[in-house]
């Protein structure tokens, strides 16, 4: 018997069918699952996948530059590098760490301390370092140390132009001055692009540019670097010499209304703003208001001339006991009992100005102040422009009408004051002030007649002659005209006895004015406080340099201007 052939085992048919059915069922499950993933979940999954390697990078737009009128840069953005690390990934020997610390300007111990904190994934080692140092850091080739680019704004003008230009924050958004005022124009719009990155965060491939970055546009200011720097130096000198709290200066080109210089003391260095006080930051010329005092007298007189009631030679009775209105007496230290209208300006007589004002309608006086731009912001586009205070005429009592004539009970900013004086410089037209460079002469709005403006200008010229209040405002070669102001400071609702604001507003050259310069010195405390002594010399220094820089022809004989001798200088009472 041969070995029995293996017996054919007949398995039950259901077993085969069972396996078959099982396989088919598994297949269906797979098909359903793939259908679910491919058709219903596909978008979500694709997004997840892309998120692993695809990144959208922001491309910064460069902020526009700020230039002065001759094209010198006042603010420029340049890229700097910020060095950061993933502490867990950093592998570096002690020698390398030492080198890195030296390049970053850190203590080795400090750097080690930063890198030991391995719980964090991202740590800045040093922000905003110079590109040269950054390149050397990159050359060390250390693992886990990375850099990224940031922009930093530099201000080559430093403290001289600090208040006009302002500054930006770390994120390059304007915070002060022109940087804030013209933010939409200066600021760039960041663009974005899609890239593929590997696990270590290196860009492997550029895929597409989603949006191109838009750089901000440059801005050219009306400021003249030369005049500005001269103005700042002169102002700083005067504030120091008179131990004053602060000072401000505005110079306006009469033909175009451009602000050629706008200086404030104390100032600050916008490149290093570690310790800043509010006093340093204040742009007094634009945002602070003060009672201008006698610098408003020419407006009162202009209105009186305009109304035809007086002429420059009409006589005004001053008397010797002052002018009594209600319970208040307006004082005048001058000896004369009768002055002509021109002399009221020349000697800065309060009683004279009050008497002239009392003969006018208060609505008319208010109207002139209003048209001169007082009580409304000058609209040069600067943040925080002060509008000053000019109360409605209906609320004026006679004593207020009288004091308003010589600049008390009304408050203005220095910029408003300088701009208002353009009406005397432009034969009756007030010119709108601007901080941006403009090439064409500006159109003014007529406030007083050309004849009145010329008459007032002649009076203002008298004020700087010997016998006037400001002989120290004169300069050799050019005729100047101007008015001093010495006002008690307001404090706690009253007037401080021995705190003053000395001011001077002048125009030059008097024959065909090109320039208005307004100077304000806050609390001169070195014995002298008269506008003619404290503020007028600053005007003279700035006007001399500015007229030379602008190439204005001489209109006066070239003789040295002597300093006023004893008794040649009139003293004003406010």
């Amino acid at each position: 018997m041969s070995a029995a052939a293996p017996a054919l085992v007949r398995l039950p048919v259901w077993r085969a069918r069972f396996v078959m059915a099982g396989l088919v069922a598994a297949f269906f499950v797979l098909a359903a699952r793939s259908l679910y993933l491919q058709a219903m979940q596909t978008q979500f999954l694709q997004e997840k996948g892309e998120a692993r390697y695809s990144r959208v990078l922001e491309v910064p737009g460069t902020r526009g530059r700020i230039l002065e009128r001759n094209g010198e840069a006042l603010a420029i953005s340049t890229p700097v590098q910020s060095v950061w690390a993933i502490p867990g990934d950093v592998q570096a020997g002690p020698a390398q760490l030492k080198k890195l610390a030296a390049l970053l300007g850190l203590e080795t111990r400090e750097l080690r301390g930063k890198l030991e904190d391995s719980s964090r994934d991202f740590i800045y080692l040093k922000r905003q370092i110079a590109p040269e140092a950054a390149e050397q850091v990159a050359r060390l080739g250390l693992e886990g140390i990375y850099q990224h680019r940031e922009y930093r704004r530099y201000y080559p003008g430093g403290e001289v132009t600090a208040h006009v230009v302002g500054f930006t924050g770390v994120d390059e958004a304007g915070q002060e001055g022109v940087e804030l005022a013209f933010e939409p124009r200066l600021g760039g719009t960041p663009g974005s692009r899609r890239v593929i990155k590997d696990r270590r965060g290196r860009v492997v491939e550029d895929v597409e540019s989603i949006r191109a970055a838009q750089d901000g546009r440059d801005l050219q200011l009306s400021i003249d670097g030369k005049i500005q720097s001269l103005a700042y130096a002169a102002l700083k000198g005067a504030v120091a010499a008179h131990k004053a709290r602060a000072g401000a200066l505005v110079a306006i080109d009469v033909r175009t209304g451009e602000v050629l210089a706008l200086a404030n003391v104390p100032s600050f260095n916008p490149n290093n703003r570690a310790r800043l006080s509010g006093a340093q930051l204040r742009n007094r010329a634009v945002t602070d208001v003060f009672e201008p005092g006698s610098t408003l007298k020419p407006f009162t007189v202009a209105l009186a001339l305009e109304s035809g009631r007086v002429s420059p030679s009409s006589l005004v009775h001053i008397g010797s006991g002052g002018l009594r209105i209600a319970n208040y007496t307006i004082q005048d230290p001058h000896a004369q009992t009768v002055l002509s209208v021109a002399q009221v300006i020349q000697k800065s007589s309060n009683v004279g100005a009050a008497r002239i004002a009392l003969a006018l309608r208060r609505e008319d006086l208010w109207g002139l102040f209003d048209r001169a731009g007082f009580g409304a912001a000058p609209q040069i586009g600067f943040p925080g422009e002060a509008s000053g205070r000019l109360r409605p005429a209906q609320s004026w009592r006679p004593i207020e009408q009288a004091t308003m004539a010589y600049g008390h009970g009304i408050s203005v900013s220095l910029l408003q004051l300088a701009r208002a004086y353009t009406m005397f410089a432009r034969d009756g037209e007030l010119v709108p002030a601007t901080l941006l460079k403009s090439d064409a002469p500006a159109r003014g709005s007529r406030v007083i007649s050309a004849q009145t403006a010329r008459q007032v200008r002649a009076m203002l010229e008298l004020a700087v002659q010997p016998g006037g209040t400001a002989p120290r405002a004169r300069i050799m070669g050019w005729r100047v005209a101007g008015k001093t102001g010495t006002a008690h400071k307001q404090e706690n609702g009253g007037y401080a006895e021995n705190k003053y604001i000395a001011s001077f507003v002048g125009l030059a050259p008097a024959s065909a004015p090109r320039l208005v310069v307004a100077v304000m010195i806050d609390e001169p405390a070195n014995g002298q406080y008269f506008g003619g002594v404290v503020a007028a010399p600053v005007f003279a220094e700035v006007a001399r340099g500015a007229l030379r820089a602008l190439g204005v022809p001489y209109d006066a004989p070239l003789e040295p201007v002597p300093l006023p001798g004893a008794g040649e200088e009139a003293r004003e009472s406010t």
């Binding site: 840069a73 340049t78 720097s229 050799m476 070669g477």
Partner: protein
Amino acid sequence: MAKLNLLLLLVLVVCALGLVTSQHKARKLFSELERAQGRAHELDVEYGKLQLEASTWALHARIERVATGTLGMRTPDARQVRVVGVAGAR
């Protein structure tokens, strides 16, 4: 029928290869564009830096210091200045 299929297959392969090359070219050009833009940006940055440097050297305060200190210059007296009028300018 088979021949037609074969032909279509061939066309398909050619098209696919064409797509690959054109995409490759596009990426190459794009990266070239990026490089050029990067270069332009770098030059721009350098221009800004040079301008910054120029402005710093040209500070009026510094010029005045050098002029009066190192070079011993001074502003002329108004009497030493002759104004030359251009014919028809005034």
